[in-house]
């Protein structure tokens, strides 16, 4: 019978059938970060378990590290404690740690694909909901909580209930100004923030095949904002080309063997999904969120709708108001959604000799040390700095405000991250989610603006 990619990966990883739809799944990779990693290892050790397969676990401090230029671990003292705990526990157990300032350091879902840790056909778990990002490599990656993380570390397995399958096809030619971020925001706005709850989503269709790997990572990143723990894209030649030569990708004769296996990963023709959606690319325009949930989104040419009074009062917006022209105070270009080299290039390309508006504070936070170095090698940082953006150190930074950096209360921020929740970027901060190009355009204009008018 024709099988979906999800079914193939799931079935190949079942160690034991636990009944009632539950399976004990083998985990090929586990990622941990500063916020919960040190404690998770400590708890596992305290309970008398070891870390089952430390060579399959990768650790990185990202959430609670300062992004201030020239930072070190002491810049944010609370984060320093977490980092020290991560160093101590990974050192004790032999888990690889990618520490501040060295290649491989970065936001966990940026560094993992970048290092080739994430490979097609594998399973991956991490104590972070945006683990779904990694599904762009053609694997089954999902976020878990602290207790499940302890289980994953202690056994390299996890009991999971099989989700249902959903396919979202994007068909048609990509309109000008539309990015992977706009595709997924549009999908969430249309299908709803709970549409994917209980599902593993496969993104498919000609417009997804046409996306580069970094764009697919952006697409999969917001799966959880649709409720789905898992989002994935079939691996193809682009995936293989992206992975070849990366630090933890298979080498030599094993590379060929791996590719042979990976070619069998995509869904078979005729495979049935429990739910199938079709989105036409022509229907998508550059998106901007107006509320406090990623589903509260509209085209930049749109208006603030009526309905959610609490969200509008928090956001300081009036129903019927035109979105474009709304004054902006902050811009954040970064996060595991949109902080890769191609994102930074897209943002820099909007600048065109202009300067960040006087009243705007605009940050660019590269997703990893490698992204930072590559961007600097091609002079992107100079273009940002000359235009009045701050060029900062890699980490989660203003995506989650866990590192002491916050958007001030009442300030309006256009952000390339994935959550516009109440208080997400700081108490009282008002977040509008958008693509890197839209965010850069807003920084220059000092207001929400249609990027298509700026290029």
């Amino acid at each position: 019978m024709a099988k979906t990619m999800f079914d193939k990966i799931w079935d190949s990883r079942v160690v034991a059938d636990l009944g009632d739809g539950w399976s004990l799944l083998y985990l090929d990779r586990v990622l941990i970060h500063d916020l919960s990693g040190g404690r998770a290892i400590r708890e596992v050790l305290d309970a008398g378990h070891g870390v089952a397969e430390p060579n399959k676990v990768f650790a990185v401090p990202d959430h609670a590290v300062s992004s201030r230029p020239g930072r070190d671990e002491t810049t944010f003292p609370i984060g320093e404690k977490l980092l020290k705990s991560l160093r101590e526990t990974t050192g004790k157990t032999g888990v690889r740690l990618f520490d501040l300032g060295r290649p491989g350091h970065g936001i966990v879902h940026v560094m993992a694909p970048e290092l080739g840790v994430v490979l097609p056909g594998l399973t991956l778990a991490c104590g972070d909901s945006h683990t779904c990002t990694n599904g762009a490599m053609g694997c089954m990656a999902f976020g878990i909580g602290a207790s499940e993380l302890g289980h994953a570390l202690a056994t390299q397995t996890l009991p999971q209930r099989r989700p249902r399958t959903m396919r979202i096809r994007f068909e048609g030619a990509r309109p000008p100004g539309v990015t992977a971020k706009d595709m997924i925001l549009h999908a969430i706005g249309r299908l709803g923030t709970a549409a994917g709850t209980g599902y593993a989503i496969e993104y498919a269709g000609s417009a997804v095949e046409a996306l580069e790997i970094e764009e697919r990572l952006t697409l999969c990143n917001l799966s959880i904002e649709m409720g789905a723990k898992i989002g994935m894209v079939a691996p193809d030649e682009k995936t293989f080309a992206y992975l070849q030569g990366r630090d933890f990708a298979p080498k030599a004769a094993q590379w060929q063997a791996a590719i042979a296996d990976w070619r069998a990963v995509p869904s078979d023709p005729g495979a049935r999904f429990d739910v199938d959606h079709l989105i036409r690319m022509e229907d998508i325009a550059p998106q901007i969120t107006w509320g406090t949930s990623p589903g509260q989104v509209a085209p930049i040419t749109g208006f603030v709708p009526e309905g959610d009074a609490a969200a509008l009062s928090y956001m300081g917006l009036e129903p019927g108001q035109k979105l474009a022209g709304t004054k902006v105070d902050w811009v954040f270009i970064g996060s595991c959604t949109n902080s890769r080299l191609s994102d930074l290039r897209a943002a820099a390309d909007v600048i065109g000799g202009r300067h960040v508006a006087k009243h705007v504070t605009a940050w660019v936070v590269p997703g990893s040390e490698t992204v930072k170095r590559e961007a600097e090698a091609e002079g992107l940082h100079t273009r940002f700095l000359e235009a009045g953006f701050e060029w900062r150190e890699p980490g989660c930074a203003l995506c989650v405000a866990a590192n002491g950096e916050q958007v001030p209360a009442g300030s309006r921020c256009v952000s390339t991250s994935n959550r516009n929740f109440v208080g997400r970027q700081g108490t009282g901060a008002r977040t509008h989610l958008a693509s890197p190009a839209m965010a850069a355009a807003a920084a220059l204009a000092g207001a929400l603006v249609d990027v298509r008018e700026m290029v």
Binding site: V15, A16, L35, K56, I78, G145, T197, F248, A249, R419
Partner: protein, 207 residues
């Protein structure tokens, strides 16, 4: 994990959609606070006024509702971040059961790891429980019985709910997942040997 068999409590209506885990517990509280001690910060952005006093509008601050073990919620409760601190914070403020039409997947799984029971019921039933509770303030009690898999509304209507057999067992007896999995140690070891032979590239690249 704390075991759970049955509770009887005043159901606190908090019928808002998409209550995310950032709202349940802000990240700043998780940087530096452990599994315990989060109770006072649960819902802090909604629960307190700027001067730190209780916000009278917040349901769990209202007389008769404060300290209740049972929360009524709306669609997609606990969406967003995977932070298990959201569950620890709810339990820290005394909540043992949340009834909602749907939950965020990761939050839902985290609940079962800690002994907080998430129950899925249609919104119409949840509204009915809310109305019955509001109709007789101070007296209305709702029972959630995991043993029998029923919710009993304040007026005595019994409403069955579905719960995973495996999760129900674990919750009733406070079982630990790691211990259960370790019973499969031999199967895991055998699986590893087989996979290593079948797909050496998945192993050697990180050896």
């Amino acid at each position: 994990m704390e075991s759970f068999s049955s509770i009887t409590a005043t159901a606190v209506p908090f019928l808002r959609q998409n209550v995310d885990t950032d709202v349940i517990i802000p990240i700043q509280r998780l940087v530096g606070t452990g599994r315990t001690g989060l109770g006072p910060y649960a819902f802090e952005r909604l629960r307190y006024l700027a001067d730190g006093s209780d916000n009278p509008e917040f349901p769990l601050n209202q007389p008769g509702y404060k300290g209740s073990q049972l929360l009524l919620a709306d669609e997609n409760f606990g969406c967003g971040s995977s932070r298990e601190g959201a569950v620890w914070a709810l339990m820290g403020m005394g909540v043992r059961c949340v009834i909602a039409p749907s939950f965020g997947d990761i939050f839902f799984a985290n609940c079962f790891q800690n002994g907080l029971l998430p129950v899925r019921l249609p919104i119409a039933v949840i509204r009915q429980i809310a109305e019955e509770t509001e109709a007789s303030p101070g007296n209305a009690r709702t029972t959630v019985d995991l043993e029998r898999r029923v919710v009993i509304t304040p007026t005595g209507t019994e409403i069955p709910f579905e719960v995973d057999t495996r999760k129900r067992e674990a919750m009733l007896h406070g079982l630990d997942d790691i211990a259960l999995t370790k019973r499969h140690a031999e199967a895991i070891a055998a699986w590893r040997v087989g996979d290593r032979a079948a797909r050496p590239w998945a192993w050697d690249s990180v050896a």
